[in-house]
Assembly symmetry: C2
Homo-oligomer: 206 residues x 2
């Protein structure tokens, strides 16, 4: 397999993290989104939606969307629950992550740390709204994690990998994690999982 | 089962549509999002993230996120593929829908038809960006549908239900569907499925 990815991306990190947990070998192909390398004809032939990460399978086809990659690489492991309802609850948190969490927390981080747009009224108001919505998402997580170690069924699943990716770097988007003690304790539990790698740790050589 | 829902919502319609396809009976509980009925203590006890649709199961627990509800109600049917890679491709399109399609097309429709915010610089610029990104999403769909009848594996799946919900009402968000002939032909195929119901068709009585 090959992973087309941008190292600072939390979405890419989800793929790198599950590949590490599963001990799978792959070729790492860096793609610089700041240089619009996701908009070239070559990249768009792999993902017409122009986004990393993209997983190239051994048959030459491609799988896109970080949380679909988590499903594909996790389904036949203990990172995916056995019961249908628990599976649906994992899905619920994956969609929460992509709709209520990532567009706020990851985008705020990307703007503050990488894109650094001019502070036009649009960006100033949009950033403020994203930070408010991001805090609401962190509060939903903190409330859910009261009294349970992981998001679904008491076990570490792909829902935890998906939510860890941008939560642990939320301070880079201007989010203070101090008000969310259950989130902070959960981050430590995820970090303590055997096979864990840091976000920008170099992928293992193939 | 009970479905907490707002009838004009495409996310709610996904749940109503799969319940109709599967012939499942349920109690319909209308929730008026314009009157902030998703922000009451009672509703937040069902979904702390304050969004419809919410499916209340017979054991009294709740499942949120429209695409997780599609997975839960579709997995044991021919709306969900057999092969892992096809399942992952269905997931890919579900996440495309919630990240690249719904926040642009559904939000533009909601603002123009329901919320009607003051045309402040923030709303004017954000709406323009959503309409541009929505057109890009429709183009990705149109290209993908060239030469194939449905999104994954040649069969009607929950990916088609998810994408149909807001695509067929995209003109209400200012999107012209004329430039996307493959999308228009696919909309007709989805509409022609046995068991199809219209978006605001009354749910069947229980």
């Amino acid at each position: 397999m090959k992973l087309y990815d941008y190292l600072p991306s939390g979405n890419g990190y989800k793929a790198r993290l599950i590949l590490a947990h599963r001990g799978l070998r792959y070729e790492y192909v860096p793609v610089d989104i700041l240089r619009a390398e996701t908009r070239t004809a070559g990249f768009l032939s792999r993902n017409p939606n122009g986004r990393i990460p993209v997983l190239e399978l051994d048959d030459g086809t491609h799988l896109c969307e970080s949380n679909a990659i988590l499903f594909y690489l996790g389904r036949d492991s203990d990172l995916w629950p056995v019961e249908l309802l628990d599976q649906a609850r994992v899905m619920q948190w994956l969609f929460f992550e992509q709709y209520s969490h990532e567009p706020n927390i990851a985008t705020a981080r990307f703007w503050l740390g990488w894109l650094k747009p001019e502070p036009t009224p649009y960006y100033v108001e949009t950033l403020a709204r994203k930070q408010e919505a991001g805090r609401a998402a962190l509060q939903v997580m903190d409330t859910h994690l009261a009294g349970q170690p992981y998001f679904v069924g008491g076990h570490f699943t792909i829902a935890d990998i998906a939510l860890y990716a941008y939560t642990h770097v939320a301070p880079e988007g201007g989010f203070d994690l101090m008000p969310y003690p259950n989130v902070r304790a959960w981050l430590d539990r995820v970090r303590g999982q055997p096979g864990h790698i840091a976000m920008t740790e170099s992928p293992r050589p193939t």
